[in-house]
Symmetry: C2
Subunit: 381 residues, 2 copies
C-alpha cells in the first residue's frame, strides 16, 4: 500500500475534496458568462470573508505578490515605512520595502513576542511614517498580533495600516471595516482552504487616496480594480484556482465565519493541551490567541529537524520546521482551514510516536485524550 500522507503545515494546507474536484473541471474562457458567474460570486464572497465593503482584488500570484502590491501601490521612492516585526513574515515586509527603495524603520521584537499598540504609537510620534506594515498571524512563531490596536495606532499616527493576513484570514477574527484596517493582503492556500496560487488584497478609500509613485504594472491596483468592476480580469486569471476558491469560500461561509473562528480556537487549545500532556513545552503562547499554528520546543537532546524528517520520511506526516533563529529548536503544527480534532489527534499521535523512536522522555498515551477533552470545552465568544 502507498504510504498515506498527512499535511499538518501552516500552508499550503489540506484542501477539501470538492474544492480539488472544482479545480479539475474543464477549462473555461475567462471572458465568458460561465466564468463570470464564478468570478463575480468569488469576489462577493471574498468581501464577506474580509468583512469589508472595499473591493477585494484578486491576482494570480503567491501571497507575497500582494505584499509587494501594497508597497508598490502605496509608496514613492525613498518613503519611510514602519515595519512591525516579530518573526519571519514581519522581516519579509522589510525585505520587500527595501527592495523598492523605501526607508525602513523597524519596530522590532524578539521572535515569539507580541507587538504592542503603545509601542507603535510611541514610535510614530518619534519618527513619522506614511505606511505601517504589520503581520496578523506571525506563522513563524504562532503569535497572533492585536491588529485592531496596531491599526488604530497607525491611523492615529497618520499612517496607512497594511496587514499581512495570509495565515489569519478565515481562522481568527479580522474586522477590516470595523477596525478601519486600510489594506489587508492574503492568499488562497491557508484558512481559505484552496490551493496556492491566488493572492488577495482589500484596499480602503484612504489607501486609494494615499497611492504613491513607485512603478508597477502586474500588481497595479487600479488596473485590476477597473477590470473587476465589470467582472473582467486585467490578465488571464488562474480560472481553475478561482473555481476552487469559489467552492471553498462557499463552504466557509455556509459554516459561518464565527463558527470557523471558534473551531480554530478549539483546535489550538486541543493541540496545546495534548502537547503539554506529553510533557513538551510550548513556544507559541499558551492561550486562545494561538489559534492558527502551535509552535513547540523540541525536548532536550532532540533536534527538531531530525524529528520532522523522521515524521515525514518514515510516517508520511509533514509538520513545519522552525525558521530563522528557531531552526532546529522548535517545530510547528498548523491547524488552519480544513482541520478537525481528529487531525490534531493524528498529529499528536505521530509526534508522540516519533519522539519515542528518538528516545525522548515523554509521557505516552495521554495526549489525544487530553486533546479531545480540551476540544469539547466551550469557547467564550
Amino acid at each position: 500500500m502507498t504510504e498515506k500522507r498527512y499535511l499538518f503545515t501552516p500552508g499550503p494546507t489540506p484542501v477539501p475534496p470538492e474544492v480539488l474536484a472544482a479545480t479539475a473541471e474543464p477549462i473555461i474562457h475567462h471572458r465568458g458568462p460561465d466564468f463570470r458567474v464564478v468570478y463575480e460570486r468569488s469576489l462577493a464572497r471574498l468581501k464577506e470573508v474580509f468583512r469589508t465593503e472595499n473591493e477585494v482584488l484578486l491576482f494570480a500570484a503567491s501571497g507575497t505578490g500582494t505584499m509587494e502590491s501594497a508597497i508598490s501601490n502605496l509608496c514613492s521612492p525613498g518613503d519611510r515605512v514602519c515595519v512591525v516585526t516579530a518573526g519571519a513574515f514581519g522581516d519579509r515586509w522589510a525585505s520587500v520595502a527595501r527592495a523598492f527603495g523605501c526607508e525602513v524603520d523597524r519596530l522590532e521584537y524578539e521572535w515569539g513576542e507580541a507587538p504592542a499598540a503603545d509601542d507603535l504609537t510611541a514610535r510614530l510620534a518619534e519618527r513619522e511614517a506614511g505606511v505601517v506594515l504589520m503581520t496578523h498571524s506571525e506563522t513563524s512563531t504562532g503569535v497572533v498580533a492585536d491588529v485592531r490596536g496596531l491599526s488604530a495606532a497607525a491611523r492615529e499616527g497618520g499612517a496607512v495600516s497594511v496587514v499581512d493576513a495570509v495565515s489569519s484570514l478565515g481562522a481568527v477574527p479580522l474586522e477590516t471595516d470595523e477596525w478601519e484596517v486600510d489594506v489587508v493582503v492574503s492568499g488562497s492556500q491557508k484558512a481559505l482552504m484552496a490551493p496556492p496560487g491566488l493572492a488577495l488584497v482589500s484596499v480602503s478609500q484612504r489607501a486609494w487616496d494615499a497611492r504613491g509613485m513607485l512603478p508597477r504594472f502586474y500588481f497595479d491596483w487600479e488596473r485590476t480594480r477597473k477590470a473587476q468592476e465589470i467582472f473582467d480580469a486585467a490578465f488571464t486569471p488562474a480560472v481553475s484556482l478561482v473555481r476552487g476558491l469559489d467552492v471553498a469560500l462557499g463552504i466557509l461561509l455556509e459554516q459561518g465565519l464565527e463558527a470557523a473562528f471558534e473551531r480554530h480556537v478549539r483546535l489550538g487549545r486541543a493541540c496545546r493541551e495534548g502537547i503539554k500532556a506529553m510533557g513538551l513545552e510550548l513556544f507559541s503562547p499558551d492561550d486562545d490567541s494561538a489559534a492558527v499554528v502551535t509552535a513547540i520546543r523540541a525536548p532536550d537532546g532532540v533536534d527538531a529537524g531530525a524529528l520532522l524528517l523522521l515524521l515525514r520520511d518514515r510516517h508520511g506526516v509533514t509538520l513545519a520546521p522552525g525558521q530563522g533563529p528557531l531552526k532546529g529548536k522548535v517545530f510547528r503544527i498548523g491547524h488552519i482551514g480544513y482541520f478537525d480534532v481528529f487531525d490534531i489527534a493524528t498529529a499528536l499521535s505521530a509526534v508522540e510516536l516519533a519522539l519515542t523512536e528518538l528516545g525522548a522522555d515523554i509521557e505516552r498515551g495521554v495526549a489525544t485524550t487530553r486533546a479531545f477533552e480540551a476540544y469539547e470545552q466551550p469557547v467564550a465568544v
Copy 2:
C-alpha cells in the same frame, strides 16, 4: 442535458483530462520530497521545451507577470527600449515598459503585418536601445514573427532580445539557444496544455549580465534562480498547477516537439482551407506560418461580435473576438495545444451553422471535408 462547451480560443486552451486530474490531487508541501520530484522534473522538462540550457524560472502569475519581470530585471529608470509591435501584445510590451519609466521607441507595424528584421537593424542603427521587446506569435492577428531574424538583429545592434512566446512556445519552433534569444517569456495556458496561473522565463548569461536597477521583489530573477538551484521555491508555489504542468509537459515531450510543430502547421492549414471553402476571407496570413491562431474577416453585413455571441450562447462554442482596431471585424479560432483535426471540424461546422442562422451568404457542406483533406497533406519539415 447540460449544453456541452467547446473552447476554441487562443488561451486559455483546453487541457487534457489527465492534466486536470493531476491538478486535483491532494495538496502536498512545497518543501517536501513529493513536490521536489515534480518541481525538479518540470524545470528540466521546461528547458527541453524552451530548447535551452539556460534556467527557466517559474512563477505563480499570468504570463504578463514574466513580461513585467523582463522589464524590471533588465532595465534601469529612463532606459530606452525598442518595442517591435504589430498588435495587442506588442502594445502590451510598450505599456509595461512605460509603466516602469522606460523610454519606449516603437518599431510599429499595422495590425496583421509581419515585422522585418531589416527594419529593426535600421532602427537600432538610428537609435540605440539596450533591450528589444518583441512578440513571437501576435495572438491578436495570427501573425508569427521571424524571431530568429529579429533577435539576431537585436544582438547585432547591441541589444538584449526579449521574446513574448506566450502563445507560441510548444506550437511553433523556437530555438532559444540556437537562435541566441536572450529572454523568452511564456505561460502555462497555451500550447503547454496546462491551466493558467504559471508564468515562465528563460534568461541567457548575456541577459543576466545586463540586469538593471529597477525595483523588483516578487519577480526578481535572482531570488527565484537561487531558490530553484536547490529545487526550492522563493515563495509558496502553485503546487497543484505545477503538478498539472508536469504531466502536460510529459505528454508534449513524449509526442515530441517536432511532432507538435507539424501538428500545429496541419491544424492551421485545415482551419484556413475550411474557412476559405466556406467563402470567407482570412485576416491572418494564408501560409503555414499561421499555425497558432486563425483570424477571419466577418462576412459583409455580419458583426463578428454578434457571431461570437450566437456561437457561445446558443451553441456553447467559444471563439475569440477581434481586439483593438479589429473589434467587430474579425473573429479568431485558436488551435494551440490540446487540439486535433476534429476540433477544427467542430469549430468550422459551428461557424458555418451560426453564419447561416445570421443569413450570411456562405458555401455550406464543404468546409469540414476540405479541412480533413488539408490536414492529410504532408508538411515539409
